[in-house]
């Protein structure tokens, strides 16, 4: 076999040398009955139309629904909004649309 790199070049790692701390996903729920589901509208056009339909289905399944809206789809949700959803809801559905 041809030795392409006979000296074994050593390079400096260009990355951050680590990944963001991993976070486990919350366990999947078996049933939505009696649970509170957050519906997060990211403020894209017609996201509300999609969420309105989801809300109808969720209520039919016995879930409670809380609606939330991001100030802009172009930026991550503010930390306070994320905290409110996390402390109020058992599950969350984020709606992308266009």
């Amino acid at each position: 076999m041809t030795i392409i790199n006979p000296t074994g070049v050593t390079v400096l790692d260009p990355t951050a040398e680590g990944r963001p701390a991993g976070r486990d996903l919350t366990a999947r729920v078996d049933s939505l009955t009696g649970l509170t589901v957050g519906l997060l509208d990211i403020s894209k056009p017609r996201g509300n139309v999609f969420l309105d339909r989801l809300q109808e289905h969720l209520i039919r399944l016995g879930a409670g629904v809380e609606r939330y809206t991001k100030p802009t789809f172009a930026k991550p949700a503010p930390v306070d909004l994320r905290h409110e959803i996390a402390t109020t809801c058992d599950a969350v559905i984020e709606a992308l649309a266009d």
């Binding site: 076999m1 030795i3 074994g8 070049v9 260009p14 951050a16 802009t72 172009a74 991550p76």
Partner: protein, 357 residues
């Protein structure tokens, strides 16, 4: 080596993890395999090369430059130097790369959003001040194209840092539907000496002699042809006519743009004695849109404004939303439009930073 490449800065201690490429491996292939590249080959960032790169700045390798989106990772001068080596930069470009990163990693520029959007934008970097000539940047022929090392590698180094440090890679957080080749690195210099106008940096509050870099979230350049206008008035109307279609003729106020005015087009304004303020005022007067023509459904097109805007006259761009830069080769009656992205609080604002050594 020292005479040819400069000092290697052996006195400082580098903290980056050393990765040994096996003797049977091709280092270029090994770096592709590790996901460190933008799709083009990179220069292997050996310690000697990184040390030479660090000679381009007086800053300590351990200094924090910025916190890089989207993963919000702290980035040191050393890590920028590693990526600048990979991009093909010379040490004297490093201060520009550092300032450009400080610009794009601000809340105002919103690099996370610029990555995550399905629109095509990426950082467009405009260098102003004497450093552009000192490091051999191009502001002339093929200014928005390839062929100049500084132009080609400074923007690339910034994008490699966003990818390798910030974690913003295409297909991951970068969700562009189409993208454009300038996302490989889009950097050019303003032609200040050849312009009768104040510079882009001066528009953003800096002095004409200051070295700065302005970051703009921009699309690929779009040529504007006008070979017949011989008066400033005609050319201004012609440019406005093309600018009205930026992104979409149905988009007004919500997105910025950059106009790269070429020397032969600038000659019309020099001859007429128009300064930047006069040009901006006259151009703005031709960039007003009758809302009735762009309301959803008008002309059989569903895209458009809500009907609430009926009867209004609306400006194509918000105040200050059109950045004008003088650059390009000496011959050719063309200019270029670089479309932007969502502007202001909900998107990205242009950011200018001073370049320091």
């Amino acid at each position: 080596m020292r005479a040819r490449y400069g000092a290697t800065g052996a006195e400082s201690h580098l903290k980056s993890r050393h990765v040994q490429i096996a003797s049977l491996e091709d280092e270029a292939e090994a770096m592709f395999d590790r996901g460190w590249t933008d799709g083009l080959p990179v220069v292997a960032p050996t310690e000697a090369r990184v040390r030479r790169m660090l000679e381009g700045t007086t800053r300590n390798p351990a200094d924090l430059v910025t916190v890089v989106p989207p993963d919000l990772v702290e980035c040191t001068v050393e890590k920028v130097a590693v990526n600048a080596v990979m991009a093909g930069c010379r040490p004297e470009y490093l201060p520009v790369v550092l300032a450009a990163l400080e610009a794009v990693c601000t809340d105002e520029f919103n690099m996370h959003g610029v990555l995550a959007t399905t629109m095509s934008v990426g950082p467009v970097l405009v260098v102003s001040g004497p450093i552009a000539d000192e490091i051999g940047m191009n502001h002339g022929i093929n200014v928005l194209g390839h062929g100049n090392r500084a132009n080609s590698t400074i923007g690339r180094a910034v994008q490699l840092v966003i990818r390798n440090i910030g974690g913003g890679a295409p297909g991951g957080i970068d969700r562009a539907t189409l993208g454009h080749m300038g996302k490989q690195g889009f950097c050019f210099a303003e032609d200040q000496a050849g312009s009768p106008w104040t510079s882009l940096a001066e528009q953003h509050g800096f002095g004409a002699g200051q070295n700065t870099v302005t970051a703009f979230a921009g699309d690929g350049p779009h040529l504007v042809m006008d070979q017949k206008s011989r008066s400033a008035e005609s050319l201004t109307r012609s440019l406005a006519d093309s600018l009205l279609g930026t992104i979409s003729s149905r988009v007004v106020m919500g997105m910025d743009a950059m106009l790269v005015l070429s020397p032969e087009h600038m000659a019309r304004y020099r001859d007429a004695g128009w300064d930047r303020a006069r040009f901006t005022e006259e151009l703005s007067s031709h960039l007003t849109v009758d809302a009735d023509t762009i309301i959803a459904g008008a002309g059989g097109i569903d895209e458009g404004l809500p009907s609430d805007f009926a009867g209004m006259s609306l400006p194509k761009f918000r105040p200050g939303g059109l950045l004008v830069v003088h650059a390009g080769g000496p011959a050719g009656l063309f200019s270029a439009i670089i479309g932007g992205w969502v502007n202001g609080q909900t998107g990205s604002d242009p950011v200018t930073k001073e370049i320091t050594q």
